[in-house]
């Protein structure tokens, strides 16, 4: 429990009775036998590679094995396999003719086991594998079985090659969209931090003038702090779980904005009229701001940053300490 709190989890509750109490009360128990329905979040957890998930969540493994194999092969590897299937099948038809068991018929006559026969066999193989099927060369006997297997196999591989080309383009598009969204999000964080700063400044001025009713002051303060906490959470996530890394000047600007807002918050709190009384909601938001900001320091973030950035991070942590 305490460990999770220390790691920054905000909404953790404890089931004190534990497994023993749950069993006593006849609650629903699962064991790791392959039974039971798949929980909706089971797949998601497995995909994240996080916690161990009981085998009850491990369905569809074999279904995905073939797709996984195709996924791992590159486009050129798949194309080579496709070509190899066609050539080997062509050679197989030809060898049948070579050993005296003609497999192909052209214009009513068996295709011979000579060199021109090999060309015809490979030609037939291409026509079959691409599902064109002109019909000028026909398979007979066991060659029909091979022709069917060849068609099904090569069409599947051909489809996979096409799908790979299409999905590569899509992946490029998706990553471009991610990049643009990320840049926009960074812009928004920067703008919002500026807004919070000026709003806190305005609230400070309102405290000084003492002409504004307290309830208005409190509601304005609450909304400003909510935005602040949200953006602080974003910056925190950015540092702890960076899907992409922002460039240094931009991150420095964001951190500087954050530090300025924290400084202004401290200043504003000292000017807050004593009779205003901090509501529990406000107190909770402040506690969240403080705990999030205290986890921003050069040493505690998982990645190492340039000194110009860690200075700001340490400053943010120091300000958060002052705040509480």
């Amino acid at each position: 429990m305490r460990l999770l709190h220390e790691l920054g989890y905000t909404n953790v509750r404890h089931y004190r009775g534990g497994l023993a109490d749950w069993k006593d009360s006849g609650g629903l128990i699962k064991s790791a036998s392959p039974s039971g329905a798949q929980a909706p979040w089971g797949r998601e957890l497995r995909a994240r590679g996080g916690a161990y998930v009981a085998p009850e969540f491990r369905a569809n493994r074999f279904e995905n094995a073939l797709l996984g194999l195709i996924e791992r092969c590159s486009t050129s590897e798949l194309s080579l396999v496709w070509l190899a299937i066609i050539l080997l099948s062509g050679v197989a038809y030809w060898i049948a003719a070579l050993v005296g068991r003609p497999a192909l018929i052209e214009h009513g006559a068996a295709v011979a086991g000579r060199l021109d026969g090999l060309a015809t066999a490979v030609y037939f193989s291409f026509v079959t594998a691409t599902s064109i099927g002109y019909g000028d060369v026909l398979p007979v006997g066991m060659a029909r079985v091979l022709a069917v297997v060849e068609t099904v196999g090569s069409l599947m591989i051909f489809g996979a090659v096409i799908a790979k080309f299409v999905s590569r383009r899509q992946e490029q598009l998706v990553s471009e969209i991610h990049r643009v969204t990320f840049e926009e999000r960074l812009d928004r964080v920067q703008t919002n931090l500026h807004l919070v700063l000026s709003e806190l400044h305005a609230i400070s001025a309102m405290c000084e003038s003492r002409s504004v009713p307290h309830n208005r002051l409190a509601s304005r303060l609450e909304s400003a702090l909510r935005v602040f906490a949200g953006e602080l959470g974003t910056v925190h996530d950015l540092l702890y779980r960076p899907e992409r890394e922002p460039d240094e000047p931009r991150l420095r600007a964001i951190l500087a904005g954050l530090a300025a807002a924290l400084e202004e918050l401290k200043e504003m709190l000292s000017r807050l009229p004593a009779e205003l009384g901090v509501s529990p909601i406000l107190r909770a938001i402040l506690a969240r701001i403080s705990s999030l900001a205290r986890e921003i320091c050069g040493e505690c973030v998982p990645r190492s940053y340039a000194p110009a950035l860690t200075v700001w991070m340490d400053r943010i942590q120091a300000l958060a300490r002052d705040l509480s």
Binding site: E6, H14, Y15, R16, A20, W22, S25, K30
Partner: protein
């Protein structure tokens, strides 16, 4: 990591009752975490719980529970 306990005060740990837990079983927004060792988890666990043994909690928490503001219920054997 720097110490983060709130204002030097021991944080209080909120609890969930058995009835509430039973009622909300299967709620996808609720993450139930079994912190018992893996073999205990395999033998029996509350339906829908994930396993994150106490010994591995620090290293794997971020990976297994990426949303730090998600509603998380922690349980172990009994009365801890």
């Amino acid at each position: 990591m720097a110490e983060v306990s709130l204002a030097g005060k021991q944080p209080e740990f909120p609890e969930i009752s058995r009835d509430e837990l039973a009622r909300r079983l299967g709620d996808p927004s609720l993450v139930i975490v079994d912190v018992l060792p893996r073999d205990s988890y395999e033998a029996a666990h509350i339906a829908g719980a994930i396993n994150l043994p106490l010994a591995e909690l620090r290293e794997r928490a971020r990976e297994a529970l990426p949303n730090r503001h998600a509603e998380i219920i922690v349980y172990c054997a009994k009365f801890t």
